[in-house]
Structures are given as structure tokens and as C-alpha cells.
């Protein structure tokens, strides 16, 4: 059970790294706190600045994100988000023999940090839609001694951890949030990871979800995540592309 929990923590934390949370350029209202089990704690530090961090696994993969709103004019909102992560403790924990060993224990996991930076621009489209475009890059430091053979070659994980092996990566993305009626909303998004110079140098992720708002405190989302990504391969190829389609379900609790 402990090993399963380990794998779960690894996957959930790494997946969360670099997510475009909460998806638009808007920041939380000043003084407002939001708490999540797996999502980061979010705090409206000022009227145009939001700070978020993880609480449950802060010791395994410490990280903090600052989102700063720079512009809010007419239908446009523009922000930048900046995050720093320290994945070393978590990766060391899964570099182990036996069940739960996602990385071979023969590999040393050095001290590394990554910095994720992005620009988010949201535009209100009529009453019921918000379109958000995103562009950013990530830098990593300390990974030069990390063996290339130690990668975790799984969808969602490989391309997020790639920054530690490659030193940098780029991300582009777009979201469309909309409301269909009083109870139903939808979200369609796409994200492109680009890791020039590395085997498995891109991943295109797309998500589609519909959400039923049972009340102001609880909602259920259903949808899918599609990952079309390139991964390392060997003779006779250098890379191989794989498509994964993952059904999604999401339960969301709210507290004002």
C-alpha cells in the first residue's frame, strides 16, 4: 500500500507541476483562500497577485507559484505566472528497488530546481465564454549529472520531467471555458510541450470536459484527456509516437 501511495504521489505531483492553474489569467480576490487536497493552496495576496503552494506533499516536492495580473482592460486580462519546484526528494523516493521503484536505484538523483514562467491572456467572449492563450518556458538547474537512462517514459510524466534532463522546455496552450446553461459548463483545452534537443521532443495534450454544477458547493466533471506524444525509442528508430486517450472524472468541492 505504501508503494502504491508512493507512485500515486509521484504521478500526481509531477503532473501538477507546470499545470496552468487555475487556467485563466484571472487572479483570486484579495484575501480569499482556496484549499485543495491535491491542488495547491491558493491565496489572493493582493487584488492583482495570487500565491499558491502545495501543502500535503510540500516536503516531497516543495514548490510555490506566484501569478501576477498586469493588465485588465475592456475584455482582456493579462497575467504572468512564475513557479519554482524542487523535485529531488520525491524523485529520490521513487528511485528504489522493488515495487514502487519508478526509477532504477542505480541512478543518482541530484539536487535540482525548475522555474516555470508563463504569460496568460484571457478574453471574455460574450456572456458565456472565456478564451485564454498561454505561452511560457521552463528552466531547470542542477540536472546536468542526471543520467538520461533514468527518465520515466510515461504519458504526462515524461514531458514534464524532461526539463530536468534537457535544461529547458517551452509550452504553448489555449483554453476555452464556456457555460451551456444554468447547470452545465464546458472546458476544451490544448497544450503543446516542446523539448528541442531531447529524444521524445514533443507532446500535444488535449482535454475536453463537461461539468455539472449540482450546487455552489459541489460539481462533477466528466471528460477525456488525449496525449499524443513522442517518446524515446531505439534501433531502428530514434523516437516513437504514442497516443493515449484517458477518460477523466473530476469531483469538485467549493467553500466560500
Amino acid at each position: 500500500m505504501k508503494n502504491i501511495l508512493l507512485i500515486f504521489i509521484l504521478l500526481s505531483q509531477v503532473f501538477s507541476q507546470g499545470e496552468w492553474l487555475p487556467g485563466t489569467a484571472h487572479t483570486l480576490l484579495e484575501g480569499r483562500w482556496e484549499f485543495g487536497v491535491f491542488q495547491p493552496v491558493r491565496w489572493g495576496q493582493s487584488e492583482d497577485r495570487e500565491i499558491s503552494f502545495y501543502k500535503l506533499t510540500a516536503l516531497l516536492m516543495p514548490g510555490v507559484t506566484v501569478k501576477q495580473r498586469w493588465l485588465q482592460r475592456y475584455d482582456w486580462t493579462v497575467s504572468t505566472a512564475h513557479a519554482i519546484y524542487y523535485p529531488t526528494p520525491l524523485l529520490k523516493m521513487v528511485a528504489k528497488p522493488g515495487i514502487g521503484g519508478m526509477i532504477s536505484p542505480e541512478f543518482e538523483i541530484p539536487n535540482m530546481v525548475s522555474l516555470w514562467n508563463m504569460v496568460l491572456a484571457s478574453k471574455q467572449l460574450g456572456q458565456d465564454k472565456i478564451f485564454t492563450a498561454k505561452a511560457g518556458f521552463a528552466l531547470a538547474f542542477g540536472g546536468s549529472d542526471l543520467a538520461m537512462e533514468s527518465t520515466i517514459d510515461l504519458p504526462l510524466l515524461y514531458h514534464r520531467l524532461a526539463v530536468y534532463y534537457n535544461g529547458w522546455l517551452m509550452r504553448l496552450g489555449a483554453d476555452m471555458n464556456g457555460r451551456m446553461n444554468e447547470k452545465w459548463t464546458y472546458l476544451v483545452d490544448g497544450d503543446l510541450f516542446l523539448i528541442p534537443g531531447m529524444k521524445g521532443s514533443f507532446a500535444l495534450e488535449h482535454k475536453g470536459m463537461v461539468t455539472w454544477e449540482k450546487s455552489s458547493r459541489f460539481q462533477i466533471s466528466l471528460g477525456y484527456k488525449m496525449v499524443y506524444g513522442q517518446y524515446p525509442d531505439g534501433y531502428p528508430n530514434e523516437n516513437i509516437t504514442r497516443l493515449h486517450i484517458l477518460p477523466m472524472i473530476d469531483f469538485v468541492w467549493s467553500r466560500n
Binding site: G36, I99, M102, E106, D153, L156, P236, H244, P247
Partner: protein
């Protein structure tokens, strides 16, 4: 607002992605066929074919793999694997066989940098065709950093393979459900080969269980013999062999001392047990004689009278020990050319198994 999105992403990766997490197989299904990038001339067999059986330890030579040699490594570098494959290809060139029965060949495995060793060996030897049957195929093995894996048996030949089938062998019954789900699914690979002037010529590659402590090995060898008996009854010609993980009749059965790693606990009970998995060949009644029926029924590359001699040992777990037991065999219902049976013991650095070869006579 609380959102549990990551949790559900992870659950669904494991449970619902398009590709199964672990590949299971039908009792009988088609094998995967390969061709070399460039063909070499198919020779006239001249009334004889040279056969080779070789467990190549997924092309890592004697590197200290964690699973079988007291090693501490799981993932090899591309250079290490290619260097080992070069040596294997060179040995094949020297032996110059017509048909090779391989075991433990990787083709899409993290541990060997995803090199398709079937294609690589076809493209770097005089072999032209191959058939592959996986014994271990999973998107990821979440243990010891193994990751993605695809390893199995191969029949490789200069002559065209007309068809090939993968015959499932029984799974071990001495494992918990989770381990069993991610564990090996061993098989018999049976390939029909177009040999001139032979109507129904088959080559069969098998790899029996190594670590089972129940009677799974008995089931594997029984099934292997059943497949051979069916071919013999149908009037087919076959060469069959592989790593049977069984010692010859009359051979030593306890290699715990030889194979023990630091911290291994064994031979502590009054009755001599417990024993190390894979190092003890008397786990159940008649295990020491598992191969006897094959020797009694068919011709073999290495005669049973000399099979337990040091000159025909084919395996050792450490490069520091010379071959100390025989686990690899070739059987046929044709005649073996007198004196042609050879155990190529000089290949000590190329794998933890020595290749075994012989020439069979095509009347």
C-alpha cells in the same frame, strides 16, 4: 475550491489508457514476423542444416543486472547494449548457422534502450527472416525502474518463414495476484520455415520458467513435448530447443551455494531448505528428470551420456564462474550429424548462457 484532478488523471492512466498496462495473450496466436533490411543469399542446405540455440540475456552480456546475477543495475546504456550485440553478431557469423532459436531477446524495453534486437540482429548478421513471440510485455513495470518491457523468444533463419505461432505456457501459481499480473507469460514459438525439398519443416524456440517453486516447470516441459509429439505424429520435421531451465538427468540439482548473493538466506532448515529460486532443481517429484522424456523420444544436439559433463555446461550466474550447469538443449526428429553437437563455451562474456549447436541431416 477543492479540485482532485491529479488523482483521477492517475487512476485513469492506469486503468483506462488505450494500450493495456500489461499485455495478455491468447492460448495460440500469430507471432510477429520480421525481415532483414537487406537480404543475403539463401544457401542450398546441402542435405544438412546448422542449428543454434542461444539465450542471449537481452543483449547485455555479463553486465550486473539486478534480477539474475547479484547485480545492482536495471537500465543499460545504448552503447553497452550495442557493444554486446556486436559481439553476439560476430559469434553468429563465426558459427554460421542456418536457423537460430533465441531466448531473452528485447525489442521495446527501457532496460535495453528500446533497441529492437530482433531487427538489429537481422540487419547485422546473414539471417534474413525472424519470428518473435513476447513473454513479457507491459507499458510499465513499476518496480526497480524496469519501466516499459517487451522481451521474448525468437526464431531467426536465412530461409523464409511461412508462418509462426505463439503458444501460451501455463502461468506460475506460486505468486500473489499483483505480481502474477505483471510477471512473465512464457511461451513456445513455433515457426514453419520454407526449407527446399522439405514439405513441413518447423523450428521451435522455448524458454521454460526459471524461478517457479511449484510444478510450473513440469507443465512447461510437458507442453513443449506435447507440441513436438503432435508435429512428429503429423509427419512434420522439426528442430526444437531453448533454455529449459532444467538440468540433465543425473546432473547436480542444488546450486544455491554457487549462486548466492550477499545477504541471501538459504539452507538453514533441518531438511536443507529453503533454497534459492532458480538455483535448485529438485522442488518437486521428478524435477531432476524433466528432460529425460525428451531425450528418450528424440535426437539431441548433445547426447544424454555427455550432457552432464563440464564440456557441455551452458550456464553460470556470474562471469567469475565458468559454466557450471547445462540448461539449454536442442532436440529434433531428424538425425543429428555425428560429432556436430557443440557447446560454444568460449562465449563466456556474451551472455549468461552458452550457445548450443548441431547439424541435422535432411534425408
Amino acid at each position: 475550491m477543492h479540485q482532485c484532478k491529479p488523482l483521477f488523471y492517475i487512476l485513469f492512466i492506469v486503468l483506462f489508457s488505450c494500450e493495456p498496462l500489461v499485455t495478455t495473450f491468447d492460448d495460440v496466436e500469430d507471432a510477429v514476423l520480421y525481415e532483414a533490411k537487406t537480404f543475403t543469399t539463401i544457401p542450398n542446405p546441402d542435405n544438412a542444416l546448422i542449428i543454434l540455440s542461444w539465450n542471449i540475456r537481452f543483449g547485455i552480456g555479463r553486465l550486473p543486472f539486478f534480477g539474475d546475477s547479484c547485480g545492482d543495475r536495471t537500465v543499460m546504456t545504448e552503447k553497452e547494449v550495442l557493444d554486446a550485440l556486436e559481439l553476439i553478431a560476430a559469434e553468429i557469423d563465426v558459427i554460421d548457422p542456418d536457423i537460430i532459436l533465441f531466448q531473452e531477446v528485447d525489442r521495446e524495453s527501457k532496460r535495453t534502450q528500446y533497441i529492437d534486437q530482433v531487427q538489429w540482429l537481422l540487419d547485422h548478421t546473414d539471417m534474413n527472416y525472424a519470428a518473435y513471440a513476447s513473454m513479457w510485455q507491459a507499458q510499465t513495470i513499476p518496480s526497480d525502474g524496469i519501466g516499459r518491457i517487451d522481451a521474448g523468444n525468437v526464431v531467426m533463419t536465412r530461409h523464409e518463414i511461412e508462418s509462426a505461432e505463439r503458444i501460451q505456457l501455463p502461468l506460475r501459481t506460486d505468486q500473489d495476484a499483483l505480481t502474477k499480473m505483471f510477471y512473465l507469460r512464457r511461451n513456445i514459438l513455433k515457426a514453419k520455415i520454407a526449407i527446399p525439398d522439405q514439405d513441413s519443416f518447423y523450428a521451435v524456440s522455448v524458454h521454460a520458467t526459471a524461478f517457479a517453486t511449484d510444478d510450473t516447470k513440469q507443465k512447461h516441459i510437458d507442453k513443449f513435448k506435447e507440441v513436438l509429439d503432435e508435429m512428429a505424429a503429423a509427419g512434420d520435421v522439426f528442430v526444437a530447443g531453448g533454455d529449459l531451465n532444467s538440468v540433465p538427468p543425473g546432473g547436480e540439482t542444488d546450486y544455491c551455494d554457487e549462486d548466492a548473493c550477499e545477504d541471501d538466506v538459504f539452507h538453514t532448515d533441518e531438511d536443507g531448505g529453503p533454497h534459492l529460486e532458480g538455483s535448485y532443481f529438485n522442488n518437486f517429484e521428478n524435477e531432476p528428470n524433466l528432460v529425460k522424456h525428451l531425450y528418450d523420444t528424440y535426437n539431441s544436439a548433445i547426447d544424454s551420456a555427455v550432457a552432464i559433463t563440464a564440456a557441455h555446461n551452458t550456464h553460470s550466474t556470474s562471469e567469475d564462474r565458468f559454466w557450471d550447469r547445462k540448461l539449454d538443449y536442442i532436440f529434433t526428429n531428424k538425425n543429428v550429424a555425428s560429432g556436430s553437437g557443440t557447446t560454444f563455451q568460449s562465449a563466456i562474456q556474451l551472455s549468461d548462457h552458452a550457445p548450443v549447436g548441431c547439424a541435422i541431416i535432411l534425408e
